[in-house]
């Protein structure tokens, strides 16, 4: 009963509609740093620009192996917990 009142546009007002699209656009902006982090994590070293937002066609896990080997992560986990 109350669900349509909350979510569905009861009126044909344009302002809430525009606001929703603006917020959807902002959600994309908010996600960009995370998306770039994901894309960069799987990109092979030395393949094109680091700042590109397009995923690599040849994704690799080498970055994870390198990061894992670069520091004593088990100890850090132990320290944190």
């Amino acid at each position: 009963m109350s669900a349509p009142v909350q979510s569905g546009p009861v009126t044909r007002e344009i302002t809430p509609h525009i606001a929703r699209w603006v917020v959807a656009g902002l959600a994309l902006v908010w996600a960009v740093p995370f998306w770039w982090m994901l894309v960069a994590a799987f990109r092979p070293a030395g393949s094109g620009a680091d700042a590109s937002l397009l995923p690599s066609l040849t994704p690799t896990l080498a970055n994870f192996a390198e990061a894992w080997a670069s520091a004593d992560f088990p100890l850090y986990f132990l320290n944190s917990s």
Partner: protein
């Protein structure tokens, strides 16, 4: 009737037991105090003793020849320090620049994403993601975004044919860059509180406004915002505290530079204490900061709750 009247004086004999109970409050206090004492001891040791210590530090000068009482000299020196004035100004700008946009954005997010639906839930999650990573990690992420020339922002600006900038190296832009990071990090957190506040608004209020022919802006202005007033008072205080007590990103991104452009109060205190070993100056700055914070918090909470209590 006489029967009833008889019972009233009969209540008088109940007096003596009350009188006998008079010495008891002291004895009655003993057990609660004993039970509270472990907490009280720790509260005193770790909350009030440091406060006393800071006040003591702020009014004393430590030299190699010994420690002496200097009264308010540390405070006068503090306020005469141009770096402290800069830090105070920076932090005021930073507080306004983070609190106002993040609260407005959080309200917009909450209004648009309130209610059921898979898309809304997903977008709520997107806005909340930055809250779940540590501030240090967020700062490390933004360090790459702000890199001059090859960073995410400059790279894509260049592809659009727009000139980039040295976001963290330009004294005019660095504080703005830090502010952007903070808004990105915190808006989702405040959205959560406002969503909770929106849930508490009865649907009837919105329906009544609709029937009265209120437009979306009128509903926001006269129904939603008044109902959210206590929420905003609370979230505003949280946002203010965050603006003063969070300094991790300054350490990672700029270390207070370039030319003091991002020196916030907490970073100034750290520098005085840990780099210049001036405990008196650092303690004085701490006292001033905490005093300001307490005053602003009191003001904000009083303004947010006054009309609510009157209604």
């Amino acid at each position: 009737m006489t029967h009833l009247l008889d019972t009233i004086p009969a209540a008088a004999p109940a007096g003596p037991p009350v009188a006998r109970a008079a010495p008891r409050p002291g004895a009655g206090l003993l057990l609660p105090l004993a039970l509270l004492s472990p907490s009280l001891v720790f509260l005193a040791l770790f909350t009030y003793w440091p406060v006393a210590e800071v006040v003591w530090d702020a009014t004393h000068e430590v030299t190699r020849r010994g420690t002496r009482f200097v009264g308010l000299a540390n405070f006068t020196a503090l306020f005469a320090d141009p770096t402290f004035q800069r830090a105070l100004l920076n932090n005021a700008l930073y507080a306004i620049g983070t609190v106002v946009p993040s609260l407005v954005l959080a309200l917009a997010f909450a209004l648009a994403l309130n209610g059921a639906g898979r898309v809304r839930a997903m977008m709520r999650a997107v806005f909340f993601l930055p809250v779940m990573i540590p501030l240090v990690a967020a700062a490390a992420l933004f360090l790459f975004l702000f890199l001059p020339g090859i960073g995410l922002i400059d790279y894509h600006l260049a592809r659009l044919g727009l000139p980039g900038a040295n976001w963290l190296g330009d004294p005019d832009l660095a504080l703005g860059a830090i502010t952007v990071l903070t808004v990105w990090k915190n808006a989702g957190y405040y959205m959560l509180f406002i969503l909770a506040g929106l849930q508490a608004i009865p649907d009837e209020a919105r329906e009544a406004a609709l029937l009265d022919g209120a437009g979306p802006w009128q509903r926001l202005r006269f129904v939603t915002l008044p109902a959210l007033r206590p929420t905003f008072a609370f979230v505003g205080v949280i946002a203010l505290l965050n603006a003063v007590t969070q300094v991790d990103h300054v350490f990672v991104l700029t270390k207070g530079g370039p030319s003091d452009a991002t020196k916030l109060l907490l970073f100034y205190i750290y520098e005085q204490a840990a780099e210049r070993y001036d405990a008196g100056r650092a303690a004085a700055a701490t006292v001033v900061t905490l005093g300001l914070l307490a005053a602003l918090t009191t003001l904000s909470l009083a303004r947010g709750q006054g009309p609510e209590a009157a209604r």
